[in-house]
């Protein structure tokens, strides 16, 4: 049962990764190319004699093509699998939500906790932005933010379930959301800021890159959430159809 869900989630995730690749290729790659051109220009200007060129281990064409594709499809499969596991826990435990709504809700909350909240504090950076000296600290801060955000979201959903028994589903969810946002705000204020954007880097290019990054994730998470819910309801309907057709028809 859970194994089936997991497999389904990962397959839906591969599909989502494919679409996210199309989006990233179209809307993201121009800004990656811009940043790499900026980086090369800057390093040429710094060392006029040259000599310190970084060796190209993987060609740009591969990075922007097969590499990007592989990265997004694998990441998509992982996200799909994690959403499937969350779905296994949540389905039937969140009031009277249908499987389709549960899947959409999990994808939305996952997108908020895993993408939006960490990205608001530590936004995506194109190449050329970010100093190599601080990569360890930046990575630690990013993953600390990510882990905290996910743990807080799980705690908030559990709180919402508790409160729903006493003050109703809508009020419970509202209170839990306020608690979540308040703690996130404190976390944002407490964690250090990172400012490493080169002064001459185009703000518009940076903005467009970050919007593209948010967009890649939006495509990925929404496709997983919607497709997983649709396939799961379809499978459940087929399973139930032969036994009580009338009931299934009435539900539609």
């Amino acid at each position: 049962m859970v194994g089936n869900l997991l497999l389904r989630g990962m397959m839906v995730g591969v599909l989502a990764g494919l679409l996210a690749f199309c989006f990233a290729r179209t809307f993201g790659e121009p800004w990656v190319d811009y940043a790499i051109a900026f980086e090369e220009h800057a390093s040429h200007a710094a060392g006029a004699a040259g000599g310190m060129e970084e060796p190209e281990i993987v060609s740009r064409a591969t990075q922007a093509g097969l590499g990007l594709f592989t990265g997004l499809v694998i990441y998509g499969a992982a996200v799909g699998g994690l959403i499937a596991l969350a779905f296994a826990f949540a389905n039937g435990r969140l009031g009277r939500l249908s499987p389709r709504s549960v899947a959409a809700l999990i994808a939305t909350l996952g997108y908020v906790a895993i993408v939006i909240v960490p990205q608001l504090k530590y936004p995506a950076n194109p190449p050329a932005v970010g100093s190599a000296d601080t990569i360890v600290a930046r990575t630690e801060l990013f993953f600390a933010m990510l882990a905290f955000s996910v743990a807080l979201m799980i705690a908030s959903v559990m709180l919402a379930r508790r409160l729903a028994e006493r003050i109703g589903g809508w009020n419970g969810a509202t209170v839990a959301a306020i608690v979540y946002v308040s703690i996130v705000a404190v976390m944002f204020a407490a964690l250090p800021d990172i400012e490493e954007i080169p002064a001459s880097f185009s703000p518009a290019a940076l903005w467009n890159f970050r919007i593209a990054s948010i967009g890649v994730q939006a495509v990925l998470w929404s496709v997983v959430g919607l497709a997983f819910g649709a396939v799961t309801e379809y499978a459940a309907r087929r399973e139930n159809a032969p036994r009580h057709t009338a009931g299934a028809a009435a539900l539609r």
């Binding site: 993987v58 097969l66 590499g67 997004l72 699998g81 596991l85 389905n91 995506a124 190449p127 970010g130």
Partner: protein, 73 residues
């Protein structure tokens, strides 16, 4: 968790039965671990930390890593 299962099965027979947590847990632990490790290889291997030598993985998934918002370099 057993009382939660009873409550839902009694009140709403047509809704999805929750899968018992004991059945999800092994999948969640091993599957979750594998999936998180997968994300690690796309998102962080050979950036700040490295499990295998060289920088081929990093360079190969370079663009995806930037566009997914992971700190890269």
């Amino acid at each position: 968790m057993t009382n939660a299962a009873f409550a839902t099965s009694a009140s709403t027979p047509s809704r999805a039965e929750p899968i018992p947590v004991s059945k999800i847990l092994p999948w969640a632990v091993f599957g979750g671990l594998m999936l998180v490790l997968t994300v690690y290889f796309v998102g962080a291997e050979e950036g700040a930390t490295s499990l295998i030598g060289g920088s081929v993985v990093h360079e190969f998934v370079h663009d995806g890593r930037h566009l997914l918002g992971f700190p890269c370099h």
